[in-house]
Subunit: 261 residues, 2 copies
């Protein structure tokens, strides 16, 4: 087992579920930090800005600096700035501040989970831009998510609608897109094989990270459902929860080692 | 060439474009009727009831009885009645009268081009029913249509969204679904090989009909675009417009023959 030099953590379902921190999660995070390892927090959430995410996590008892939060919006923002592209933003109102200072236009379509912002008129405007040649930047492609009153359509449904109608293929900026893992690994400053990803989504978190060459651990909390383990990619593993995953990383022969030590 | 015993005609793009009847279309239709052939008019339109369609065609100078108009809504209505299924109707307000007398419920989802009716809340309600096991009845799967100010998203985009999110496959009730052609041929009372379909959409009208064993003619009017002929299925043919297509059916060795004559 190669040494661990950096850690990526999913947030929802790993640190907390809804408004409740998961048992032992705070202590497990503290142990990772004590080991001096760089940690990034990776989420496909597109209904909240990074500031809102940080504030929410602080209320739940997790003190996480904004620049350790890797979101699809931050990745898309970088892409737009590098290309000086003025996008049409089909996103949730709460996410708009993550695109502050970016001029809107018709060079690209950025699509997140816009919720009630998914009107026929808004989708049709995006569709016409795609037909005129604009690329589609999908902040996430999740099919649905769980709300207190049931399952709800996520951004992926609307990505599929626009892809199908326009005959174009979206560029995905969230998990499990290779470019998302590459950016996350780059921000840790160590090779992919020395990075561990811990998440509760067997496809987007765990198998996605494994495909990108990371070590990947599925936790049986959050959206985990019995049977998910049978779908684990080769080399990926499972643990009861974040404390057990961290304990395994600290175990004999699997020493945590900060880069350069 | 086998004799022709029945004719299916697409409407928009074959008889008229927008509010303008196509040149010679009325006379060509009259010649078909003089030959004593049964004719049905097949359309994927789901933004108008059959009554509205008939009235609109009458204003354009085409006198077509309502029961000769074969629409996806009429086919879906039959399906629902046969199974005593109470549907959730995600359709355009103008189409609702085609489902008059059908009790609404949660047994199935019927999806047409709902236009501004495609809100997040309406789509999410349909999604939850699909996740609970209700079948998805798609009145059409067209990707987009042309409006005066540009292309617009058609029902197919939202079928794709719900199929992708729910992991279910829609049952299509419009062209080019085999069940649509079977019902159309059955209503003409002759074998598929003796039926001619004339349309302006190379995929939905012409290749769809050819795949169902009908003779199929593509007209170069309406949504026809240069290059469409290269996509014609084997055995399908092309004509300049409805008058030329009808003339060809009447030509030497291709005599029109009414059933039983």
């Amino acid at each position: 087992m190669a040494g661990v030099a950096g850690v990526l953590l999913d947030i929802d379902g790993v640190l907390h579920v809804g408004d409740a921190p998961l048992p032992g999660a705070k202590e497990a995070l503290a142990r990772l930090r004590e080991a001096g390892l760089p940690i990034r927090f990776v989420t496909n959430t597109t209904r909240r800005s990074r500031r809102m995410l940080r504030e929410r996590l602080a209320r739940l008892g997790f003190d996480i600096p904004e620049d350790a939060l890797l979101t699809p919006a931050a990745a898309a923002r970088r892409w737009l700035i590098e290309r000086r592209a003025a996008p049409h933003l089909l996103i949730h109102p709460d996410l708009r501040e993550d695109f502050a200072g970016i001029e809107e236009g018709e060079d690209a379509v950025v699509l997140g989970d816009a919720g009630d912002g998914f009107t026929y008129a808004a989708l049709n405007r995006a569709f016409r831009l795609l037909m005129a040649g604009a690329p589609l930047l999908a902040l996430a492609a999740n099919r649905y998510f769980r709300e207190p009153d049931g399952l709800s359509l996520d951004a992926g449904a609307f990505v599929a609608a626009l892809e199908h109608a326009s005959g174009t293929k979206a560029a995905l900026f969230g998990k499990p897109a290779p470019r998302f893992w590459e950016a996350a690994v780059a921000s840790l400053g160590c090779p992919p094989s020395a990075v561990v990803m811990i998440g509760d989504d067997v496809e987007a978190d765990v198998n996605g990270a494994a495909a990108a060459g990371l070590r990947a651990i599925l936790v049986r909390t959050g959206k985990f459902r019995p049977g998910d383990e049978a779908r684990l990619a080769e080399g990926a593993e499972a643990a009861a929860d974040l404390p057990e995953a961290v304990e395994r990383l600290r175990g004999p022969g699997r020493r945590l080692s900060a880069p350069g030590r």
